[in-house]
């Protein structure tokens, strides 16, 4: 066991891990962070995507000991006070159905919009095609990301002002 310290969603965390332990398992089982999902454990599906120093990576392919000193963002740390504009765009377009792929795809799209604030449909397809979704047929995901870009993406990670529910 080795103690490692890293930043998780803005807070410093220290946790003891074995050398073979995978980051995904440490997040889910030791730190109770459940939004990264286990879909394949082999880097094929993207359900476990997190942001490592702002870049989307597959947490099932990373050993926990590797993230010492780094900054990790999961969906728990995005839009804490309400959905971000990107997430709202996902909701409007029905860009997820079962929702199992959503945490990974939202993070991958968030990272894309920070790098490329107004992506074209083609750029979205290239950037996120490693994330599998079996429910939506992807069309709505692409539309959501493109539209969020068109509406101004600098705020992609900042929470939206909370609108009151009207239903």
């Amino acid at each position: 066991m080795k103690k490692i310290t890293f930043t998780l969603n803005g807070e410093s965390r220290t946790v003891a891990v074995a050398p073979h332990e995978v980051l995904l398992d440490v997040l889910r089982d030791k730190l109770g962070v459940k939004s990264p999902k286990v879909g394949c454990e082999r880097g094929d599906c993207g359900a476990c995507t997190i942001l490592l120093d702002g870049k989307p990576v597959r947490s099932c392919l990373i050993l926990a000991v590797e993230v010492e000193g780094q900054e990790i963002t999961t969906l728990e740390g995005v839009g804490r006070d309400g959905p971000t504009p990107l997430q709202e765009s996902f909701i409007r377009h029905n860009a997820f159905q079962c929702g199992f792929c959503a945490p990974g795809i939202v993070l991958a799209a968030t990272a894309l919009l920070e790098k490329n604030p107004k992506p074209t449909a083609h750029e979205v397809q290239e950037a996120i095609s490693g994330n599998l979704c079996r429910c939506t047929g992807y069309e709505a995901i692409i539309e959501s990301a493109v539209e969020a870009g068109r509406q101004g993406t600098a705020r992609a990670r900042k929470p939206a002002a909370r609108k009151s529910a009207n239903r």
Partner: protein
């Protein structure tokens, strides 16, 4: 909920409101089974048969291993009869003396950690005597073609209308061909997973990822020797299902329940992807043979079909998959002489099971490919032939059902052809023209999908929904939808909430639709067969209307506003407590069905669809690119157009995978030859075509407000539309799915050789 509702119109049906579970899901807060904390829970692991067929001589535990740390369950520990009560009682929960497929459970192990459970499994020796095995569809199709008595028939059924053989003999032209398709894996992104906990009263509580909570109760109560009320089943958030979580979770529930009861503590099994692909059900492989006769005027004289499904090792629900298959195998066209011969054959592979479409895509794959062959033989274009022969209102189906209402044909066909300018595009097809840089082709398919259960099934299961008048929160009365339908991504919670709100005439905020828990909900049937919106939804709508009437009677006046409802409902709840009303689904008057002869009204209504695919094939690599899909659907009244479109898009992309990408065979050891997402390839974001989709509404008046099924329809017709387009592009007729460049190449070489 975010404020994305488009209008304040009190009618919710017809509005594309966002899903009610949207915010939880998009913020990563939805709880899937593997996200739930299971205090004191152990992990279960399944010990599996190593070869596809064998006699089980015994299990020998390694004396060097410390067995006190784990709990082992074998067939001997099953309190009741060792069977899962599906459509027969042939499949054991755990194999006892014979096993019929590689991977069939022979023992179960639970331990404090998964690692220990797996380690224990390695110390359990399986003693067996290997027996001969039949592994593939091609073997059973050969047996069938040669009348080989070795063929093990799990079930059979025919449909007869007129005299097909005589009509074939008289026909001006006869067109014959065979069509095949392999397994397809559902590949929901959330793997299968369930937890079982012993309850204080000797029963068991099972929760997790599933489509049909009551299946688990009814299919396991014999084996567990428990009365149904002692098996409580509750759904967690489900990460996709597509039929894959219809009957399979019962098997898994058997494993966790037996382990939990013996270990006297909660036990969880969540499959990893490898196990999930290797040991769960898939779409039935199909072999079909069409022999059709044409009249001189281009009408259809006769359709004779042999329809063979590979059922895998046990029957499970394959009979009904085959029924749906044969009911769609000659559907959609006017013809007086039809014979369909359906059967399910055994192979020593994992039992095949439910997958979106449930036999219909396999049937329509053959039929709609063959319709192009008939059109060519009749000297007509594929679209002229379809327009001339398609069933319309007043026509009779192969089972003798007169299409009296809600017939979206020929509307879907005409509209699709017009939207994509089929006639113009058809003339541009390359047909394998030498020297071209790229080959272009366009193809069409047209189909109906029987909505809800076959025949009088809906009446027999007495599906019902309940609405509870109860407190949604302290001081906030409302209607709670109580049904056994599950939300697996398709949007059931949202659509049922919309229907409940309209039934009550109230705002959506006064309605709630929680996940089903068999302790709380009546049996509204399984979440299958595209029946949820149409059948269960209509029951919810009816129950909500009754609830409103009951309250109005209580108040002695009509309820005109939400405020009035709050007052009256609060008064009722304070005086009498919770109020439950139920509503039963009733088949249209005059429905007649003979389950023996398969004559009569095979479905209460049909959804209709038309797909046009445009493809490009690279003449050098034979790489296939599906460029565009144009499609119209009649799903009756569209309750939520945004969610319905999502169902169609998602289903079409699964169908795209079935058509040209998704390939899984059986290796020599009798196992699936792909077991990871890297080897079983599904469409990614870069593979999708442009999609131009639309609806025409022909409401189904016998189930207000008139919805028909949508979930399965998009899976039905794309494969033949693509195969038809590929023929128009290359001149090659492909009759085996998936259509890959390798198969195109092989086929082109054969053609050259002739």
């Amino acid at each position: 909920m975010p404020a994305t509702v488009q209008t304040r119109d009190p009618r919710w049906v017809g509005q594309g409101i966002p899903r009610v579970d949207a915010e939880d899901k998009v913020r990563g807060r939805a709880q899937y089974v593997d996200d739930l904390l299971v205090p004191n829970g152990w992990h279960g692991h399944v010990v599996r048969a190593p070869v596809p067929h064998g006699l089980l001589r015994g299990l020998t535990p390694d004396p060097a291993f410390d067995w006190s740390r784990v709990v082992v369950v074998t067939a001997k520990d099953i309190p009741g009869p060792n069977c899962i009560v599906s459509h027969d009682r042939s499949m054991p929960v755990i194999a006892s003396d014979e096993f019929l497929y590689a991977g069939e459970p022979v023992a179960l192990i639970a331990a404090p950690t998964l690692r220990l459970a797996r380690e224990a499994a390695e110390h359990l020796r399986i003693d067996f005597e290997e027996r001969p095995a039949i592994l593939t569809l091609h073997e059973v199709a050969d047996q069938f073609k040669h009348n080989d008595p070795a063929l093990v028939k799990l079930c059979g059924q025919t449909i007869r209308k007129g005299d097909a053989e005589a009509a074939l003999a008289r026909a001006h032209k006869v067109v014959e061909a065979e069509y095949t398709a392999g397994h397809q894996e559902q590949l929901y992104i959330e793997p299968q997973g369930l937890v079982a906990e012993p309850t204080g009263d000797g029963g068991v509580f099972i929760y997790g990822s599933m489509q049909c909570p009551y299946f688990i109760v009814h299919e396991l109560c014999e084996a567990l020797a428990l009365p149904p009320e002692k098996i409580r089943v509750k759904q967690a958030a489900v990460g996709g299902a597509f039929g894959g979580k219809e009957e399979f979770p019962t098997w898994l529930a058997g494993y966790v329940a037996l382990l939990a009861l013996k270990a006297k503590r909660p036990v969880k099994i969540v499959y990893d992807r490898h196990q999930d692909i290797l040991y769960t059900t898939k779409r039935h492989p199909v072999w079909s043979r069409y022999r059709t006769g044409l009249n001189r005027d281009g009408t259809i004289a006769a359709i004779a079909v042999d329809f063979l499904l590979d059922g895998g090792a046990y029957l499970t629900l394959s009979d009904v998959v085959m029924y749906r298959g044969i009911l769609h195998a000659a559907m959609g066209y006017r013809c007086d002489h039809v014979f369909v011969n359906g059967l399910v054959a055994r192979t020593n592979t994992v039992p095949s099971g439910a997958f979106r479409g449930f036999g219909a895509p396999q049937a329509i794959w053959g039929l709609e490919s063959h319709v192009d062959a008939m059109a060519a033989a009749a000297g007509m274009t594929p679209h002229e032939f379809r327009l001339k022969n398609c069933l319309v209102q007043g026509d009779t189906t192969p089972t003798g059902q007169v299409l009296k209402w809600s017939v979206g044909s020929p509307a879907v066909l005409e509209k699709s052809l017009e939207r994509c300018r089929f006639d113009e595009q058809w003339k541009k097809c390359s047909r394998g023209k030498p020297g071209a840089k790229s080959w272009y082709g366009i193809g069409v398919s047209f189909f109906a999908h029987g909505a809800a259960f076959t025949g009088d099934g809906e009446a027999r299961i007495k599906a019902r929904a309940a609405m509870d008048l109860d407190w949604l929160a302290p001081g906030r009365p409302g209607g709670i939808v109580r049904v056994s339908s599950t939300e697996m991504g398709q949007g059931a919670l949202t659509v049922l909430s919309q229907l409940a709100a309209d039934g009550l005439g109230l705002d959506l905020s006064r309605v709630s639709c929680p996940f089903p828990d068999t302790a709380l909900v009546p049996n509204s049937g399984p979440t299958v067969a595209s029946r949820t919106t149409m059948v269960v939804g209509s029951c919810v709508y009816g129950a909500a209307g009754k609830l409103k009437k009951a309250l109005e009677q209580f108040a002695g006046k009509p309820i005109a506003s939400g405020k009035e409802f709050d007052e009256i409902a609060s008064a009722y709840l304070n005086k009498h407590g919770r109020l439950r009303v139920e509503h039963l689904f009733v088949l249209p008057p005059g429905t007649q069905w003979d389950q023996k002869t398969f004559r009569g009204d095979s479905y209460p209504g049909y959804s209709w669809g038309c797909n046009v695919a445009e493809v490009e094939v690279d003449p050098r690599t034979l790489g296939i690119r599906v460029k565009k899909i144009t499609a119209f659907y009649d799903i009756g009244k569209v309750v939520n157009p945004v969610l319905a479109k999502g169902q169609i898009e998602g289903g079409l992309v699964q169908a795209l995978g079935y058509s040209v990408m998704e390939k899984i065979g059986i290796d020599r050891k009798g196992r699936f030859d792909a077991s990871r997402m890297q080897t079983y390839i599904i469409p990614t974001m870069q593979d999708i075509p442009e999609m131009d989709l639309d609806f025409v509404e022909f409401p189904f008046d016998h189930a207000p407000p008139g919805a028909k099924g949508v979930g399965e329809l998009p899976m039905d017709g794309l494969a033949p539309a693509i195969a038809n387009a590929i023929e128009a592009a290359t001149g090659l007729r492909m009759r085996d799915l998936p259509i890959t460049p390798e198969k195109l190449y092989e086929h082109s070489q054969k053609n050259l050789g002739r």
